[in-house]
Symmetry: C2
Subunit: 101 residues, 2 copies
DNA sequence: TGACAATATATCCAATTGGATATATTATTT
DNA sequence: AAATAATATATCCAATTGGATATATTGTCA
């Protein structure tokens, strides 16, 4: 009988690794950075602002906004910075603990 | 005609001051600290954990949890720490920009 | 009340993050 | 294409925050 080729998708592999706590932490870490990056970029663009424009309103610099929006800088932004950015875009920063997916 | 006594509530005073950007920032700052403190404490208690117990799971110390829950330490916790705490309590940390009230 | 557990407070240092600067890369406009 | 605007990347330092330790305070139970 011919053996079935087992196809292991990336999704499967990640799912397995997520049982590893250290890996899970880093994974959530990166996910958060990516989510924040997207939230800020889309809110800024919808407001029709350049990075420099938003930076000025939020009391920071273009470099900091670029760094945050890039998602490739592996530093997690501070709530302090996020809050200033939210306010500058007339949003309120919300933080909550949700039921885990 | 007798002049009406004008009553200025704390709420009124704050509302007025909120037009001041610097004040508003500090106000939101403190509000966030208080909110986070309450979220963590209530989630921890509902999970039936002591500060030390939660700390162990989140890879930190009792002191850090106490500091965060007290709300009197004026440092804003990092997202990194909040995320570890959320995970330890089987929650997912959510961050969003909401329409300002 | 005394013993023990839980929480809170203070101080100091190490690690992390924002800010500043310089500069590179990419888009847009003329 | 050239000029300009917008975004991205790298490095270094100052400011902020977590961690460690010691200790105080408060709560619980025998």
């Amino acid at each position: 009988m011919k053996k079935e080729t087992k196809r292991v998708t990336l999704r499967d592999a990640i799912k397995k690794e997520l049982k590893n706590s250290e890996f899970k932490f880093r994974f959530e870490h990166e996910k958060a950075i990516g989510q924040i990056a997207r939230i800020v970029r889309s809110a800024r663009q919808r407001a029709g602002l350049t990075q420099a424009g938003l930076a000025r309103r939020a009391g920071t610099s273009q470099v900091v906004i670029a760094r945050l929006e890039s998602g490739t800088d592996h530093r997690i932004p501070s709530l302090d910075l996020l809050q200033r950015i939210a306010q500058a875009l007339h949003f309120q920063l919300m933080i909550s603990f949700d039921m885990a997916a």
